[in-house]
């Protein structure tokens, strides 16, 4: 008990929590935007890989760090546009299209990496974002500007969703596209816009990994974080504020298991601790399943004039 309290009082733990949460916040907000408009986006895992790679590559080529973030967002938007074309335009299965995009984005990134760096054994590095030491706020000062951006995005997304006409249109096409269409909202435009914007956020989530958390690109670096975001959105019942809370809670458990593993108090094989994030995601899905208020039109393709 004493040891646990000491652990909780440890600033390093909370610094780790916020760092682990950052890509989850970006990704979860991205999934949330897509799903609120009625589109499941299982492309997230691959889009994060592609964002991590292209953002890093741009910085490696000598571009400024923020340009790298913009490139990652652009990459995400391109894959989002593809997903929107397939699922909103052509009304193909959202499951299958998303998985196809994950596989395509991942394999394209691996291919591009190998073509760009044919014979490297140690991955080349860039100079990542520095912590905002001048800020003077404990814990937050140890983070990079991307974490601040992620935190600020939560109220921005909430405001966009609930306080702007565009947000209203977005939520409408996710609940009842027929009604939205009769109100003069273009389902195609609203859904596509949401998917493209959401996917751009997923790209940034990936870029955080290569430009802030680490300084290089590794093939398996996303490692299921995208799928965890998909689970977190259900856990958050599609609300930005709860998404932040969910991401932080999740990151807390992840940081805790890292600590336990390092402190030597770990009595179980290390793999058991690594399993925790995935097991927690499943648990979260099961716990909220009964009262999950899915957007009514989620995964339902909309074809004009067809029911």
């Amino acid at each position: 008990m004493q040891a646990l309290l000491e652990l909780l009082a440890n600033q390093a733990l909370w610094i780790a929590v916020l760092r682990i949460a950052t890509p989850l916040i970006f990704g979860t907000l991205g999934v949330l935007l897509c799903e609120r408009a009625g589109v499941l986006n299982l492309g997230i895992e691959g889009i994060m890989v592609a964002g991590a790679f292209t953002g890093w590559l741009a910085v490696y080529a000598g571009w400024p760090l923020w340009a790298g973030v913009a490139v990652a967002a652009g990459t995400g938007a391109v894959f989002g546009a593809l997903h929107a074309f397939l699922t909103v335009g052509l009304a193909l299965s959202q499951h299958v299209s998303g998985i196809g995009i994950t596989l395509l984005a991942t394999s394209l990134s691996s291919y591009a990496y190998r073509v760009s760096f044919p014979k490297v054994n140690t991955p080349p590095t860039v100079k990542p974002f520095a912590p905002m030491e001048g800020l003077g706020i404990p814990i937050l000062s140890a983070q990079t500007p991307l974490t601040l951006l992620a935190l600020l995005l939560v109220p921005v997304v909430a405001w966009l969703l609930y306080r702007t006409p565009a947000g209203l249109a977005l939520r409408m096409v996710g609940e009842n596209p027929q009604a939205a269409e009769s109100q003069g909202v273009s389902v195609l435009a609203a859904r596509s816009g949401a998917v493209i914007a959401g996917s751009a956020l997923m790209g940034v989530a990936g870029a955080f990994l290569t430009l802030s958390a680490f300084d290089a690109f590794f093939f398996n670096m996303v490692n299921g974080r995208g799928w965890i975001c998909v689970a977190l959105v259900v856990f958050a019942s599609w609300r930005p504020g709860k998404a932040l809370a969910g991401a932080l809670l999740f990151a807390f458990f992840d940081a805790l298991q890292l600590r336990l593993q390092q402190s030597g108090a770990a009595v179980l094989p290390y793999q058991v601790y690594l399993m925790l994030p995935y097991a927690l995601s499943i648990l979260a899905l099961v716990l909220v399943a009964r009262r999950a208020a899915y957007p009514q039109a989620l995964m339902k393709p909309y074809r004009k004039g067809e029911r």
């Binding site: 291919y111 094989p269 793999q271």
Partner: protein
């Protein structure tokens, strides 16, 4: 942009659509080959030669196709009932592990049973392990509405970590000089080779047989009708007397069982033990294969051979020309998207206003 159903859907167009889509994919991938600084025609020639150009190439391709057929069937049967099983990768490893648990040496002589009994037991255990792994997510979907895509995906990570822990601990082969590798299979449990001196084994016949069996099940049995009805419209299916829970559980057992079997067949036919890298994503490729084949078990055989040939051919092409092997994964995943679009366009007309 809107879609308009074509008044008459030509079966010829539906058949040609996948072929055209794959040709289109190769055309686009040629740009990637050019980017790598390699000549396009020799690269494709080397890929085709490496995958299909000789007896050895064919045996390698068919060896690679064997687990892909099984994971493809696993995806096809589940997707038909709209149970999106993305967990074949984990189910494959669970099956492989169950196979060595039953048929392994365990540092001694293993179970003292005749091979004729142990071999079917081994396959049964593998199928059971895969089936149980999918039954959980299927029941969660049926009872609580938990999306099975995310649960099966996350289970893949959990299973792989569990395999890793077991290969470090209780299942570790003490004779493997520290490599994380499971205990080896007993002698007499290996599947026989189809062509002497190559790796292609009788597991291929089993996989093909199961594809034919599944085709017959889809076409001629009540279960086949039930799962199709469940996939088309769950509410109407329930109204028509299809038991939703029982059908979904049955689908999960068949689908997970097939993926588990893929793991056992890899162990008995090729590796002899379990390692963490025994599957280069067979579970995920199976999904692509099932979609390429339009979820048809017999077309799936062709799709599996195509994908296996591209993967094997890319390995050998990469050795000769130096274009990264990842080009194979790009071709396969881009084909998936292109085939989906082409099949749709064979049925619908696209109007741009």
């Amino acid at each position: 942009m809107r879609l308009e159903k074509r008044p008459a859907i030509s079966p010829l167009a539906l058949t040609l659509a996948p072929i055209g889509a794959i040709a289109f994919t190769l055309l686009v991938s040629s740009l990637l080959v050019l980017w790598a600084g390699a000549p396009v025609a020799p690269t494709w020639a080397a890929l085709v030669k490496g995958g299909f150009g000789s007896l050895f190439a064919w045996t390698e391709t068919l060896t690679r196709a064997t687990p892909l057929i099984l994971t493809g069937l696993a995806a096809a049967v589940a997707f038909r009932a709209r149970l999106f099983n993305i967990g074949a990768e984990g189910q494959l490893y669970a099956g492989a592990l169950a196979a060595v648990a039953v048929g392994g040496l365990h540092g001694g002589t293993g179970f003292d049973l005749p091979s004729a009994l142990l071999l079917p037991l081994m396959f049964l255990a593998a199928a059971l392990a895969g089936a149980l792994l999918l039954l959980g997510p299927a029941l969660l979907k049926a009872r609580l509405g938990v999306d099975e895509v995310v649960t099966t995906l996350l289970l893949n990570f959990i299973v792989l970590l569990a395999v890793s822990a077991l290969l470090d601990g209780p299942m570790k082969d003490p004779g493997a000089m520290g490599w994380p590798q499971s205990v080896a299979l007993q002698q007499g449990l290996e599947l026989s080779k189809l062509v002497q001196g190559t790796r292609v084994h009788s597991g291929l016949l089993l996989a093909c047989g199961l594809a034919v069996l599944l085709w017959a099940v889809f076409k001629y049995t009540v279960f086949g009708f039930d799962l199709r009805a469940l996939g088309a419209n769950p509410r109407a299916a329930a109204f028509a007397g299809v038991p939703p829970l029982r059908t979904l559980a049955g689908v999960a057992i068949v689908s997970g069982g097939l993926a588990g079997l893929a793991g056992a067949i890899e162990v008995a036919g090729r590796t002899g033990y379990v390692t963490l890298d025994m599957s280069p994503g067979y579970g995920y490729s199976g999904i692509v294969i099932a979609m390429l084949a339009g979820l048809h078990p017999l077309a799936l055989l062709a799709a599996a051979v195509f994908v296996a040939g591209v993967l094997v051919g890319a390995d050998s092409m990469s050795r000769v020309i130096g274009v990264p092997t990842y080009i194979a994964d790009v071709i396969v995943s881009a084909s998936l998207i292109a085939v989906l679009v082409a099949t749709l366009l064979a049925q619908y007309r696209l109007r741009w206003r």
